[in-house]
Symmetry: C2
Subunit: 499 residues, 2 copies
Amino acid sequence: MSETLEKFKQYLDKMKKYGHVNTLLYWDMKTGVPKLGQAGHVDALTYFSTESFAMATSSELSGMLKTLSQPEEFSGLSDTMQFIVTRMKRDMDKDSRIPKERYEAFVRAQAESENAWEEAKAAADFSIFAPHLEKMIALTEELAGYTDPGRDVYDVLIDKYEEGMDAKTVDRLFGELKEGLIPLVKKILAAGQPDDAKFQGSFDVDAQRKVQDMLLSYIGFFREAGAVGESEHPFTLNFSSRDVRVTNHYYEHAPLFAMFSAIHEGGHAIFEQNVNPEYDNTVAGSCRYMGIHESQSRFYENILGRNRNFWLPIYGKLQDLLPQFRDISLDEFYREINHVRNSFIRTDADEVTYCFHIILRYEMEKAIFLEHVPVEELPGLWNQKMQEYLGITPSDDAEGILQDMHWSGASFGYFPSYLLGSIYDGMFLEQLEAELGPVDELLASGRILEITKWLNEKIHRYGSTRKPKEVLAAVCGREVTAEPLLRYFTKKYTEIYHL
Amino acid sequence: MSETLEKFKQYLDKMKKYGHVNTLLYWDMKTGVPKLGQAGHVDALTYFSTESFAMATSSELSGMLKTLSQPEEFSGLSDTMQFIVTRMKRDMDKDSRIPKERYEAFVRAQAESENAWEEAKAAADFSIFAPHLEKMIALTEELAGYTDPGRDVYDVLIDKYEEGMDAKTVDRLFGELKEGLIPLVKKILAAGQPDDAKFQGSFDVDAQRKVQDMLLSYIGFFREAGAVGESEHPFTLNFSSRDVRVTNHYYEHAPLFAMFSAIHEGGHAIFEQNVNPEYDNTVAGSCRYMGIHESQSRFYENILGRNRNFWLPIYGKLQDLLPQFRDISLDEFYREINHVRNSFIRTDADEVTYCFHIILRYEMEKAIFLEHVPVEELPGLWNQKMQEYLGITPSDDAEGILQDMHWSGASFGYFPSYLLGSIYDGMFLEQLEAELGPVDELLASGRILEITKWLNEKIHRYGSTRKPKEVLAAVCGREVTAEPLLRYFTKKYTEIYHL
């Protein structure tokens, strides 16, 4: 091994240690720390993440990456190490073009913007947030100009969360979907809706925790490499493939929330637990593509979890754990978990109308970055689109444009990933059925772990080493298309709603 | 502020950050990490604790402490800073006399010894542990020779866990206690014993968790500065006075275990939560005196928690949470929580025979360090003493000399702290009653938080700034004596057992 490679590995190892404690501090801040202990954690996190950032941007690292990229060094590296060097060098080259003081200005403005958003949302007053949003937009455009000069800003943003994706492709995909979904949802909403009264009682929270445990085990979450916690909003986090953690939140009066959050986060976690452990703690490990990641959580949550047959083998167990469910037949349950409503809040939406919530946000982001619509016009535009897609108008901006935190932290370009995930799911579903037979039958006979195994081998093990397009090519052998998702929606909801 | 003081504060601040993540790693290793994630935590802990150790022993720190100890600098420091500088300098001077390679040899041998003890205990085979125990004894003597040349080794060891205490004083205290307790326990064991059948059913673990929550709140554990977890063995840990955490362990068939562990660890935690926050993250904060610390956990667990009146205001709540307790009268409950048995295992012992378990260990440690009894004779000596004090003989060394892990890590001198804690408790109880009136009445009327407040003000707030003797002098105004504890035992158990 060359001296530089040896030094580089030691450097990565030290970075790993810092990353490790930053992850743990974050985990504990969300799941364990008492109110008054928060400040001590913030102190430590500030210190260690500043050190991490310094290491990730040091001239020492830059020098090593340059040396290792030279043909004579590079050709001697393992495949994984070549991937790591290439990826780190590219990221570093990009980031190093941002003037330090501009980056610092961005970090400061971002923190202020996030605070202003919280305040604005609580007061349902967009004007509090507007100047910060304006600043976030301007800084995002400025930074993209440094990192990716000459490219369309919005393409840069989409690419940031789903590498290789661009607005042109998303336009086509979301267009296909809209065309089919608008008439379908009209028909659904005009059809008879189920009665959800039985789901509105009080459901024991300890029992809900046991349901989560049962569901996680059932879908293949591996306890020896996983832990569970509780937090305000459910999330998944990983130290490595050997320590992947999910959280949940239990609402006494909304038992379905924790069930589907468990299956959703379980999907993210199963992905991370099954990445090739050789990639652990490097840029090759963990999956950095949000669309692909979301495709796995949504595959478990929607494609599997909202299938009637998913529940066939375990509905009795569910009824044992939550005795009120003894009064709810599997059919009634199935109807409710696929209850389509035109609602205001994205995170409460069913799997069908969810698409509109994302398409709306995507169009808003295009309006911002391509059409340069002034910030003060954005709430009106939001409400107009809500009316267009869902036929409803928010009573205030808190249940409208202020509902999500993404834009307050300048995470523009993130939203499309959610729907790209579902679009991929349609494709994965068709491929999986071509290879393993009907999912309905696999689920009905309790063979869900065969599905998990298929996903492990086809998708999960590659971590970040395969880009989204490469995943689709390798798994499905075709270009990305929304048609399979549309077929899935049409077939499923035509049956459920007797359309 | 002098330049050195400024630098010293920054140095302490950095040490605090490292200490913070080491504490968090430890907490998570005991309460959260999945089996396969343990190795990643160990890696990180090894790295950051090595860095911490390097900082705590650096010549840079040594130089600053030397400068700050000079009269002209020292006189300008705050009281707290004077305490910190004095304490750190003294510890550093001591430790720096240990040759580095001897300290490293000790750390290595300690790890091997701990592993050997685990193996020996599992196999109930003392011979596996004997050579390691011998090495731990020899190294302990050698290291004490460096740190405290010319002093009796065993006094050095006692002083390490309870500063200012020595074998002569412990001899006197334990002697007083033995004289009174031996005849008392004889009488108790000859008297009629209660029937414990009602405590041997199956008790819902979720309900036991709720009982712990209720008990912690009742005694004054402050939730905004505290958290709870679950671990193999209950313990208390603190980041600062603002983040103090306790764990518990729930046994389905032994509901009293978690209740009294909750009250015990709650006592430790209430202590730490009420240390003056100005001392946070320095050697002045947290309490480093094990006898004083144990006095507080044992005051809550035994003096308060095993008093019938402690339960008067909350026994109904307990019965609501654990419905099987509806069949158990408060009198039956009170009898069982003060059920005296001659048992083999220290951690299972009642508060009275517990004293013998400690006296036995103290005499064993004296045999080792003062009489130099050979290691191979120790199991026989242990069993002989068990027969002498409790009239029983262990069936093997796993329930005899191998039961505790302390000696495997060379924590000789620690055991006396437990009983010193109880001895102090007798004194605190008498003083508290002299100032606040009968504890029976305070407890019966649900005024336990007045007791907590008294302990906060008299003991807790001082953290490590008052040594054990100073605490006793300030609170009780007299020399340490075991007589109050003996009076407490005699009165209480004469009544319970109708002696």
